[in-house]
Structures are given as C-alpha cells and as structure tokens.
Amino acid sequence: MLIAERKPMEEILEMIEDFERILVLGCKGCVTVCCAGGPREVKTLSTLIRMDRKQKGRKVITLEDSTELQCEPESIKPVLEKMANQYDVVLSMACGAGVQAVAKLFPDQLVLPSLNTNFTGIAEEHGVWTEACLACGDCILGRTAGICPVTRCAKSLLNGPCGGASEGKCEVSKDQPCAWQEIYHALKRLNMLHYLKQKPQVKDWPVHPGRVVREDLREVEAT
C-alpha cells in the first residue's frame, strides 16, 4: 500500500488560511490502513483546524467526509456532488494520486494536500513502515527470493552488493539491512543460491509519467 504522513500542522494551517469553508476529505484506502488520512484522521484534523481558528478568533466551517478510494473518479464524484456549494476548498487527506484525481475531476475546485506521500511499502511493526516497491514496471522478485534490490538497495544494484555494508547493514543507515545480504540468506534458505550467478542485468528505466493501456478492457467497455 501507499504510505503517507500528515504534513506539519503549521504548513496545513498556512495553506488554508484564506478559506472559511473547508471540506476535509479522507480516503478509506491505503491511508486509512497506515493511519494517515482515514475517517479517524479526518475527524482529528478538522478538530485541530477548528481549535486553531477559535484561538485566533476567526470563523471556520469544517465538513468531514471520506471517499472509498480517492484515486478512483467513481468514488470521488458522489461525495463531492453531495456537498456541492457548501465549501470553498477541498483539503484532501489522500495520497498524491487521490489529490490529483480530485483536481482532475473538478478542475474549477481548489484542492490542497494535507499529507506527504512517502512510498509504496509494508508494515514492519505497528507504526513502522518500510519502502518495498518502486513500481519500476519490470518485476525481478522471482530471482531475488521476494526481496527487491531495486527498492531495498539504496543504490538499486542488480548484480550484487557494493562493498559498503558493515555488519550486514547498509552504508546509508545502520537501521537498514543490506538488501543483497538479505537476498543471499533468503536464497540460501530456499536452496537457490545459484540464482545469484545469473548473467548481469542492466535496468532499462521507465519513462515518467507512466501509462498503462489495456486494450482487452477498452474493447469490453466499447461493446
């Protein structure tokens, strides 16, 4: 899932300073799971905004709602149309894709982000997530025992580790295991160490922004 964190409160308050009617719009997808922008966080953020305005002696109306998936147009439309004309600005609590999906669907409506989107990752323990997938478009996990060197090696090395690891940790951070040493141990466990001897790889990097076109789905839609 996508991992995100709420922006610092000062930054959010500065962004919404000129507005009185604010729709705080959460998302029930990834950001609910990582406790950054789900219905519960919508409630908290709205409360903090009202408290701030009260302190400053300024008026504010906060509307609270959440889309099922803010990156899906069908999910955004009913929520925003239901409250049309009741707000001046949408303060999105979704990931960057969600904010952009709202902006694209309602081009005359200002949408502000209240989260910073960090990465596609997995939960290590409660409150700790690590980056797991760079969405590079050419998955090699089948050769690396389910551990992605493109993402988990700080240098995205494909042909084995650099010489920088110390006591099994990456030169970039003592909190980060060397991905290649993890791959080594995993392949050894699976009795597949010969996978390490494959022919050297060069990664052909994708061009951004990416675009996926599925003709099979488009044809079904057309009929």
């Binding site: 700080a154 240098k155 995205s156 090395l157 494909l158 042909n159 084995g160 580790p161 650099c162 010489g163 920088g164 690891a165 110390s166 006591e167 099994g168 030169e171 970039v172 060397c178 290649w180 040493q181 080594y184 141990h185 390490l196 001897k197 050297p200 790889q201 060069v202 990664k203 990097w205």
Partner: protein, 291 residues
Amino acid sequence: MNFRESLESGKFLVTAEVGPGKGTDVEHLLKDADIIKDRVDAVNVTDLQSSVMRLGSMAFSHLLTDMGIDPIFQMTGRDRNRLALQSDLLSAWVLGIRNVLALTGDHPTMGDHPHAKPVFDLDSVSLLEMIGKLNSGYDMAGNELKGAPDFLAGAVVNPGADTEAALELQIIKMKKKIAAGAKFFQTQAVYDIDLFEKFIRRVEGLKVPIIGGVILLKSAGMARFMNKNVAGVFVPMPLIKEMTDTKDKVKKSIEIAASIVKRLKDLCQGVHIMALGWEKMIPAVLDQADI
C-alpha cells in the same frame, strides 16, 4: 613500460593513489605525483572519493599523462547515467587515459551533498561490460563508433567483508566482474594478513592479478576511525598499540606499511599504496620492503 605492459609482464606491481581536492589547486598533488613517479607502475585518481564534491578524476588523470605517469582513471556509477559514462570514457581516451577502474561508488549520503540525486544507472559490473563494448567499437545501444578506445579495465574487491554473506557475495560479484572484462583487481586496505591469505586461497583459481591495498596509518586515532567507519577495513589491536606507543609516528607508519608490503609480495601480484597525503613516504616504504 606502461601499466598494461607491467601487468602483462608478470612483475610485482606497485600502484599509488591521488585524490584531487576541492578546488582548482593542483600544485601539491602534482608535486606528490612527481615524488613517486619513478617508483610506481600507475597512479589511481579517485572519482569524488567518499561522495565529496572535488576536482574530477578525468582532468587530473590527464595531467598525470602529461608528466609521463600512467593513470588509472577511477570511474563510479554514482553521478552519471550511461550516456555521460560512455561519453566521458571516449573523452578520457582522447586525452590519453588508457586504464579505467570501474566502481559502483559510495552513496551521496556519505558525502558533503547528501541530498544529491543518486544515479547508479550502471553498477561496477555493467560498467565493465560497457567498457568492453566500447573497446569492441560499439556503444551500449549497439551503435558503431567512429574510432574505438582500447581501455585496460580493472575492478575492486573487498577481501575483508565482515559477514559470511558479504564475503560470498563479494566473490560471486568478483567472478561477474572478471566475466565482464576486469583484467586486474585492487583491494580495500589489508591489515590482517591471515584473513587476506584466506581470501586469496579462495580466489587464486580465478587467475586475475590482485593488487593488495595498503593504507599508511598516520595515527592510532585514524586506525580506530577506519575500524568504525570504513567498511571492510580492520586494523588489529596490536598495530593500533604500536602507533599509540611510538614516539615517531612517521617512522612507525612506514615500518608497518613496509612489513605489510613484504608479506603481500608472497600472496598477490602487487600492492596499491594509499598514502592519503603522505605520498613522500612511499619511496621509503618500498625501500624497506625491498622493492
């Protein structure tokens, strides 16, 4: 004899290293190079060592060729994509540079511009493959070159990898580097000769010359710093104690380095002396080691 001829002759090789500094002042580096000129087969020029922004390796390598020193142009994948790497190699060739050492490179976070975008489009292995391709008259995309280089390419290996996984992976990668065209290896600094000997026994069947690394110890503090911060370098306690106890650090440093060089003579095909500013001590080290 240039470096390639020395390598092919089978003689015991001596290489040294200079690290260009931050700025355009090269006088002292040229002086250092001049002192060791007649005692070494080649001089490595580092590529933004430790990810610190400095004068470039290509320019300084070229200055060495002007002095009659055969440089080993160090090239990392850290800062340039495949376009820039290939172009720089062609440029290096026309500037008279004949030897390249292919490295992955430290991460930018290790240096003085920690938020620079890391490139690593190619790693040491794919860099070596690309050099082979250029040597054969083609670029990585398969386009024909008008005039091809003929680089002697080398690589590095870290014999002091500190875990079983790290060491096994070093050896697997070393084999990949050889298959990709590495004709010699220079190693991280060796202090623990017994450990180095074990490593040599593992890889001697690969039949590629190995040039063992020697870093001149300047103080006990430097040794402790390296033990803590430099991956693959371990200075054993007795050596640290020798540095602490001595009244003449320079003399002791030369003595320790010479004794390492002497022992490496029986184990590998050369020594790579990293003097880190103490280049003027290199002749004394070589004298004491009977080279």
